[in-house]
C-alpha cells in the first residue's frame, strides 16, 4: 500500500472535487439501490393487490430517482475527468521539473527513451486508474454495502449465508494481486526496451542505412517486441481469470439462495417477492464485482507504474548547487587544487579519470588543453562550471570553491560549448540568445559575427529569423558549431570554455574566430580544448594532459624547448616528421 501513500499527496489539491464526486456517487448508489425496492413494491403491493395507483406512484418515483442519478453521474464524470487529467499533468510536471535538477551523471544513468516512457506511458496508466477510481471505485463498495444492507433487512437469516461469499472473493483478489504487480512492472520494463530500439533507429537512421543493417535491426526489434508480447500476455491472462471467478462465486450464492430461500418460502417464512428482490440485489452485487474485476488489474498496473514515476521524481541530483550564495565571480581566476576525478563504472568501480591536477588560469589568459583521446580533457573542463564534482581536491574561482557558488552565478559567468553542438528548434536568433534571453539584437549579431556565423546566417532566407530544424538538421556541422560558439559568446561570460568546438570548421575560419575571440575575451579567461597547433600557439598557457595527469605546462616557446611530448605533437602537425611516441621510450624517426 506504499504506492497509495505516494499518490495521496498529488491528489490532495483535488480534495474538494473528490469529495463532491464521492457524495454524488454515494447518492447515486442509494438511488440505484432503491430501484429494486420499487420493483418489489410494484410487484408485491401494486400487482398483487390490483392497485394501479401504487404501480404508477412507484414508477414515477423510480423515474425521479433515475433522473437524479443521471445528473449526479454527469457531475461525477466531469469531476473525474478534471481530477485525473489535472493529476496527470501535475505528475508530469513534477517529474520533468526534477529532471531539470539532474546533473550530467544522473543523465548518464537514466536515458532519454527510459525517461520518455515513464513520463508518458506510466503516467497514463496511473491516470486511468485515478479516473476509474473516482468514477467507479466509490460506487463499488457503496453498492456492495448498500446491497448488503438491503439483503440483510430483507432477511437476516439468508444474508448470513451470503457473508461466506465475501471472504472467498477477497482470497481470490489477494492471490492475484501478489502475482500481478511485479508482472506489470516487468511489462513496463520491456516496453522501455522496445522504445529504446525504436529511438535508436529513429535518431540513428543514417547509420542503419549506411551499413545496410535494416534486416539486423528488424530482428533486434522482433526480439524485444516478442519479449514484451509474452510478458503482456502472461499478465493479462492472469487478470482474465479474475472476473469469471468472482462471478462464479456470486452465482454459487444465487444457487444457495434459491435452495435455502426456497425452503423458507415453502415453509412460509419468506415471500416470493422477497426472493425476487433478494435475487435482484444479488445481481446488483454482480455489477460492482464485475467492475472490481475490471478495475483491479488496472490498479495493479498503476501501482507498478507509480513506482517507476516516483523513481524519476525522487532521484536526487548528484550535484546540488547552493540555493543562494553571496559568492560572486568577479575576475575569473580559475585554480585547480589537487583535483582528482573518478568515473563511476558498473558495480561500484571507480575508474580514475583525473589525478592530482594543479594549475591556475589567471583572468585574461587563454589556456589550451592538449592531450590524447581519453586523457581527461573534457572531464577537466567539466569541473569548472561544476557539471561534476571532483572526487578529491577543489576547484576554485576567484578563490572561492565552486561548490559555494550558486548555479545562476556560475551559468551567468561561465559559458561552455560542449563537444556535440546541439541546437534546438526555433529561430537562429533564439538559439543564439539561449543562454541569455535578454540579450539585445545587436549583441546577438555581434556574437554571431565573432563566431564567423553572421555571413552564412544572412545567406539564409530569413536571416536571424530563419528556422532551425530539429537538432539543427538544416545546418552543416561547421555551421552548427559556429552557432554554438555564438550562443556561448552571447552570454558575455567571464570564463569561456570551448571543448573541441571547431573540429568541423576550416582552418581559415577558425583563425578568424580566434582573432575575434582575442578581442572579445580581453581581460577574461578562456579554456580551449585544442587540436590544432595554430590554436595552441596563441595560448598564454598550454596544458598537456596524459592519462589524467598534467604532463607539461607552459607557453609554446617554453614547451618547444623543454617538453618532448609537446615537440612530438607540434612536429606531427606540421608534417616535418613523424615521431614515434611511446610513453616510456621515445624514438625519433624522420621521413626522407
Amino acid at each position: 500500500m506504499d504506492s497509495i501513500r505516494k499518490i495521496l499527496p498529488f491528489l490532495k489539491k483535488y480534495w474538494v472535487g473528490i469529495t463532491i464526486a464521492l457524495l454524488a456517487m454515494f447518492v447515486m448508489s442509494m438511488t440505484d439501490l432503491l430501484v429494486p425496492r420499487q420493483l418489489q413494491t410494484i410487484i408485491d403491493e401494486g400487482i398483487a393487490n390490483d392497485d394501479i395507483g401504487i404501480v404508477i406512484r412507484s414508477s414515477l418515483l423510480m423515474i425521479g430517482l433515475a433522473l437524479g442519478s443521471m445528473v449526479l453521474a454527469f457531475v461525477n464524470t466531469i469531476l473525474a475527468a478534471r481530477i485525473s487529467e489535472g493529476f496527470a499533468a501535475d505528475l508530469r510536471e513534477k517529474a520533468f521539473a526534477n529532471i531539470q535538477t539532474f546533473s550530467f551523471a544522473n543523465l548518464n544513468k537514466l536515458q532519454t527513451s527510459e525517461l520518455l516512457v515513464r513520463l508518458t506511458s506510466d503516467i497514463n496508466i496511473v491516470k486511468s486508474s485515478v479516473m476509474m477510481t473516482v468514477r467507479m471505485l466509490f460506487r463499488v463498495p457503496l453498492l456492495l454495502v448498500g446491497s448488503l444492507i438491503m439483503l440483510i433487512s430483507t432477511s437476516p437469516k439468508l444474508a448470513l449465508l451470503l457473508l461466506f461469499l465475501l471472504p472467498a472473493i477477497l482470497v481470490l483478489v489477494g492471490i492475484l494481486s501478489t502475482k500481478a504487480r511485479p508482472l506489470f512492472r516487468k511489462v513496463q520494463e520491456k516496453l522501455e526496451k522496445v522504445n529504446n530500439v525504436l529511438h535508436e533507429n529513429i535518431a540513428g537512421v543514417r547509420l542503419v542505412r549506411a551499413f545496410v543493417r535494416s534486416d539486423h535491426e528488424q530482428k533486434r526489434f522482433q526480439a524485444v517486441n516478442e519479449d514484451l508480447t509474452q510478458t503482456s500476455t502472461k499478465v493479462h491472462r492472469l487478470m482474465s481469470t479474475l472476473m469469471p471467478s468472482m462471478i462464479l462465486v456470486l452465482n454459487l450464492g444465487v444457487v444457495a439462495l434459491l435452495w435455502f430461500g426456497g425452503n423458507m418460502v415453502i415453509d412460509g417464512a419468506l415471500t416470493t417477492g422477497q426472493i425476487v428482490a433478494f435475487v435482484n440485489y444479488l445481481h446488483m452485487i454482480i455489477f460492482p464485482i464485475l467492475m472490481l474485476g475490471m478495475i483491479l488489474p488496472q490498479y495493479y498496473a498503476a501501482m507498478a507504474s507509480m513506482d517507476r514515476v516516483m523513481e524519476v521524481i525522487e532521484t536526487k541530483p548528484t550535484v546540488v548547487y547552493p540555493e543562494e550564495s553571496s559568492k560572486h565571480i568577479t575576475e575569473g581566476r580559475v585554480t585547480f587544487e589537487n583535483v582528482s576525478l573518478d568515473y563511476d563504472g558498473e558495480e561500484d568501480e571507480h575508474v580514475p579519470v583525473l589525478q592530482g591536477i594543479n594549475f591556475t588560469a589567471n583572468p585574461g589568459e587563454m589556456v589550451a588543453i592538449l592531450g590524447a583521446t581519453g586523457s581527461g580533457k573534457t572531464s577537466l573542463i567539466s569541473l569548472i562550471p561544476r557539471f561534476y564534482d571532483p572526487t578529491q581536491g577543489r576547484v576554485l574561482i576567484d578563490g572561492v570553491d565552486v561548490r559555494e557558488i550558486s548555479q545562476s552565478e556560475l551559468r551567468r559567468n561561465i559559458a561552455v560549448t560542449l563537444q556535440n553542438a546541439i541546437l534546438f528548434s526555433g529561430t537562429v536568433a533564439e538559439n543564439i540568445r539561449f543562454g541569455r534571453p535578454e540579450a539585445s539584437d545587436e549583441e546577438v549579431i555581434a556574437a554571431a559575427k565573432a563566431a564567423q556565423a553572421h555571413d552564412f546566417i544572412m545567406e539564409k532566407e530569413n536571416g536571424y529569423q530563419a528556422a532551425v530544424g530539429q537538432r539543427g538538421m538544416n545546418f552543416s556541422g561547421g555551421q552548427k558549431q559556429r552557432l554554438a560558439i555564438a550562443r556561448a559568446l552571447c552570454v558575455n561570460p567571464r570564463i569561456l570554455i570551448l571543448d573541441d568546438s571547431t573540429s568541423s570548421v576550416d582552418v581559415e575560419t577558425e583563425a578568424e574566430i580566434q582573432i575575434a575571440l582575442e578581442e572579445l575575451m580581453e581581460g577574461r579567461t578562456s579554456f580551449v580544448v585544442a587540436q590544432r597547433i595554430s590554436t595552441v600557439l596563441r595560448a598564454d598557457k598550454i596544458i598537456v594532459l596524459m592519462n589524467g595527469r598534467i604532463a607539461a605546462e607552459g607557453t609554446h616557446a617554453e614547451l618547444i624547448e623543454s617538453s618532448l611530448i609537446y615537440q612530438a605533437i607540434y612536429h606531427s602537425q606540421l608534417g616535418e616528421g613523424i615521431l614515434n611516441y611511446n610513453e616510456n621510450h621515445i624514438e625519433e624517426k624522420r621521413y626522407a
Binding site: I47, E93, M243, W259, G262, R411, S504, V505, Q531
Partner: protein, 597 residues
C-alpha cells in the same frame, strides 16, 4: 521558442471512421480461427447466462409457488451446472482473446517498424523524433485498449443481446417490443456524442505528440540546457504544452464520460416502462402475464440494458483508438522517396570508379546546394573534398549513398547509374564514417562488429588495432565487453570516432567515405590513424572530407568546393601553383606561426 513544430501537423485524414476501423481490425485477420472459437464460446456462455433468469423464473413458478420440493432441487442443480460451465468457458475464451489481441498488437508494432526501415532519410528529417515515438507509444496504447478489452465486450454484448431478445420474444412479444424502444433512443444519443468525441480525441493525440516532441528534444539536449542554466525556461515551455494535453484530455474524457449515464438512465426508464406495462397487462388480465413473468422480464430488461450500455461506451473507445490509428496509418501510408527501380540490378564486385556528371541538387527545390558538379574518381584513388562548411561536401556524400536522389545529372559507379542499382547493394559497398558518430547501447565489441556482422572476435580486434582504438579499449573497465551507454556517451568524442573508424575498417568496403572523421581526434592519434588509413585506402577509392590540410595533402586529387560549385581540382602541388582558393586556404594555416618552415 516555437517548439516541436518542425513538421506541419497535417490535418487528419478525412477517412471515414468505418474505413479506419476496418483497417484496424484487419490486423486480427490472421487469427480468424481463434476469433471464431472465441465467438462460439462467448455465444454459448451468453446463452447459459441468459438461461439463468429463465430458470430462475421457472424455479419460482414451479418450485416455490407450487411448493414442489423435488422440482426445486432439480432446478437448483441444473442452475449450478449452468454456472460452472459458464465459468469454464469464460476463462477459456478470455485466455484465447488475450493472446490474440497481444499478438495482433505485436504484429502491428512490427509492421510499423519494418515499414519505417523502408522510408527514406528525407522522411525522418522532416519529422521530430518525439512525434514519431509518440505514435508508436501513445497512439498504440489507445489501440491496445480497444483490441484487448473492448472487442470481447462487444462480442459478448451482441450475443447476450440477441440471446436475451430471443428469450423475451418467446415469453411475450408485446413486452419485448416495448423493451426495444430503447435501441433507437440509444443510437440517437450515441451519434450525438460520437460526432463530438472523435475530433476531441484527435486533438488529444495531437497535443500528446507535440508534448512528446518537446520532451524528446529537451531530454536529448539536456546537457546543453544544463550548461546554459536554462532549466527554468525548459520547464516553462513544458508547462504550456502540458497544459494543452490537460485541456484536450479533459474535453475528450468528459465527452466520453457523459455517455454512460445517459445510456444508463435510458436503461432504467426502459425497465420501468416494461414493468409498468406488464403490471397493467396483468391487472387487466391481458396477454397471459403472470407475476413470475414480470419478475423474469424485469430481470431480462435489466440485463438488456447492460450490453446496450457497453456497446454505446465501446464507441468512445473506438473513437480514441481511431484517432491513434490514423496517426499510425500516416506512417504506414508514407512512401519512400528513394526507391529501387523494379529492374534494379545487383552490384557485384566493384572496381570503384565514381563519376559525377552535371549533378544538380537541392534539399529544397528552390535552394540548390550543388550546381553542375562534374568529376571522376578513378578506382583506388583518394579524393579529398575541401571547402568552407556549408559548401556542399556532405551533400555530395548524401547523394553518393543515395540518402537523397539528385535533381538532375548522373552519378555513376563503375559505369552504372546508382539509380539503377539496389540501394542495399550500393551501401554495402560503401564504407562510411559520418560526422555524427552514432553508437548503440551495446558492448564495444558489438558496436565494432556492426560493420560486418559475421566477423569473428579476432577480426574485430584486428580492425580495432588498425584504427588505434585497441589501446584505449583494453584500458576500459571491461575491455571489449564494456557496455556503452546511449549513443556512447561514456566515451570521449575522440574515442567514439576511433570506434567508428574501426567499424568502417571491419566493413572492408570498396569505396571509403570519411566525413570529417579524423578532425575530432587529437593530433597524435590522428597520425596513427592516418598511417592505418593509408594502408586501408590502398586500392580503394576514398573520399575524404577534412579541413586539416595535413590530412588531405597526400590525396591523389583535391576537389575544391565552394558555394555548391567545384571550383578547383588537382594535386596539392598543382593547386598551390595556381595560387587560387586552395592556395589561400593552405597559406592561412600558417597564419601567425613563427617562421620556421
Amino acid at each position: 521558442m516555437r517548439r516541436g513544430l518542425s513538421v506541419d501537423q497535417r490535418a487528419s485524414s478525412a477517412q471515414k471512421p468505418v474505413k479506419g476501423l476496418k483497417r484496424l481490425l484487419s490486423y486480427l485477420k490472421p487469427y480468424r480461427l481463434e476469433l471464431i472459437v472465441v465467438f462460439i464460446l462467448i455465444i454459448v456462455s451468453s446463452i447459459l447466462n441468459i438461461l439463468g433468469p429463465y430458470m430462475l423464473g421457472l424455479t419460482i413458478d414451479n418450485g416455490l409457488v407450487k411448493q414442489d420440493w423435488d422440482e426445486l432441487l432439480r432446478m437448483v442443480l441444473i442452475l449450478l451446472g449452468n454456472y460452472l460451465l459458464m465459468w469454464l468457458l469464460d476463462i477459456i475464451y478470455r485466455r484465447i482473446m488475450t493472446s490474440t489481441a497481444q499478438k495482433s498488437m505485436r504484429n502491428m508494432r512490427q509492421s510499423l517498424f519494418d515499414h519505417m526501415q523502408k522510408l527514406s532519410i528525407g522522411y525522418y528529417d522532416k519529422q521530430t523524433a518525439g512525434d514519431l515515438m509518440s505514435r508508436l507509444t501513445n497512439d498504440m496504447d489507445a489501440i491496445t485498449r480497444l483490441l484487448s478489452l473492448n472487442i470481447m465486450f462487444f462480442i459478448s454484448s451482441i450475443s447476450t443481446l440477441i440471446g436475451i431478445l430471443v428469450m423475451m420474444f418467446l415469453l411475450n412479444w408485446i413486452l419485448t417490443l416495448v423493451a426495444l424502444i430503447i435501441i433507437p433512443l440509444t443510437l440517437l444519443a450515441t451519434t450525438f456524442f460520437l460526432k463530438r468525441s472523435r475530433p476531441a480525441y484527435q486533438e488529444l493525440q495531437k497535443s500528446l505528440g507535440q508534448l512528446n516532441s518537446l520532451m524528446e528534444e529537451d531530454l536529448s539536449g539536456q546537457k546543453v540546457i544544463i550548461a546554459h542554466g536554462k532549466q527554468g525556461g525548459s520547464l516553462e515551455e513544458f508547462k504550456t504544452y502540458n497544459e494543452s494535453v490537460q485541456d484536450t484530455g479533459i474535453k475528450a474524457n468528459v465527452l466520453a464520460g457523459l455517455m454512460p449515464p445517459i445510456t444508463g438512465i435510458l436503461s432504467i426508464l426502459n425497465v420501468i416502462v416494461v414493468v409498468g406495462v406488464g403490471a397493467y397487462m396483468l391487472i387487466q388480465g391481458v396477454g397471459g402475464v403472470t407475476v413470475g413473468l414480470i419478475a423474469s422480464f424485469s430481470e431480462y430488461t435489466r440485463r438488456f440494458g447492460h450490453p446496450i450500455n457497453q456497446i454505446a461506451n465501446l464507441f468512445n473507445s473506438v473513437m480514441a483508438a481511431l484517432a491513434g490509428a490514423e496517426r499510425i496509418f500516416e506512417i504506414i501510408d508514407a512512401e519512400p522517396d528513394v526507391v529501387d527501380r523494379p529492374d534494379a540490378i545487383p552490384l557485384d564486385t566493384l572496381k570503384g570508379e565514381v563519376r559525377f556528371e552535371h549533378v544538380h541538387f537541392g534539399y529544397d527545390e528552390e535552394l540548390p546546394v550543388l550546381k553542375d558538379i562534374n568529376f571522376v574518381a578513378k578506382p583506388g584513388k583518394t579524393m579529398a573534398l575541401v571547402g568552407p562548411t556549408g559548401a556542399g561536401k556532405t551533400t555530395i556524400i548524401n547523394l553518393l549513398t543515395r540518402f537523397y536522389d539528385i535533381d538532375s545529372g548522373k552519378i555513376l559507379i563503375d559505369g552504372h547509374r546508382i539509380k539503377d542499382v539496389k540501394q542495399d547493394d550500393l551501401r554495402r559497398k560503401l564504407g562510411i564514417v559520418l560526422q555524427d558518430t552514432f553508437l548503440f547501447a551495446d558492448t564495444v565489441m558489438e558496436n565494432i562488429r556492426y560493420g560486418r556482422l559475421d566477423a569473428t572476435d579476432d577480426e574485430v580486434i584486428e580492425a580495432a588495432k588498425l584504427a588505434n582504438a585497441d589501446d584505449f579499449i583494453i584500458r576500459l573497465p571491461e575491455g571489449y565487453e564494456t557496455e556503452l551507454s546511449e549513443r556512447g556517451s561514456n566515451l570521449s568524442q575522440g574515442q567514439r570516432q576511433l570506434l567508428a573508424i574501426a567499424r568502417a575498417i571491419l566493413a572492408d568496403p570498396a569505396i571509403l567515405i570519411l566525413d570529417e572523421a579524423t578532425s575530432s581526434v587529437d593530433t597524435r592519434t590522428e597520425v596513427e590513424i592516418q598511417k592505418a588509413l593509408l594502408t586501408l585506402m590502398e586500392g580503394r577509392t576514398s573520399f575524404v572530407i577534412a579541413h586539416r590540410l595535413s590530412t588531405i595533402r597526400d590525396a591523389d586529387q583535391i576537389l575544391v568546393i565552394n558555394e555548391g560549385e567545384l571550383i578547383e581540382r588537382g594535386t596539392h602541388d598543382e593547386l598551390l601553383e595556381k595560387k587560387g582558393f586552395y592556395y589561400n586556404l593552405y597559406v592561412s594555416q600558417f597564419k601567425g606561426l613563427p617562421v620556421e618552415v
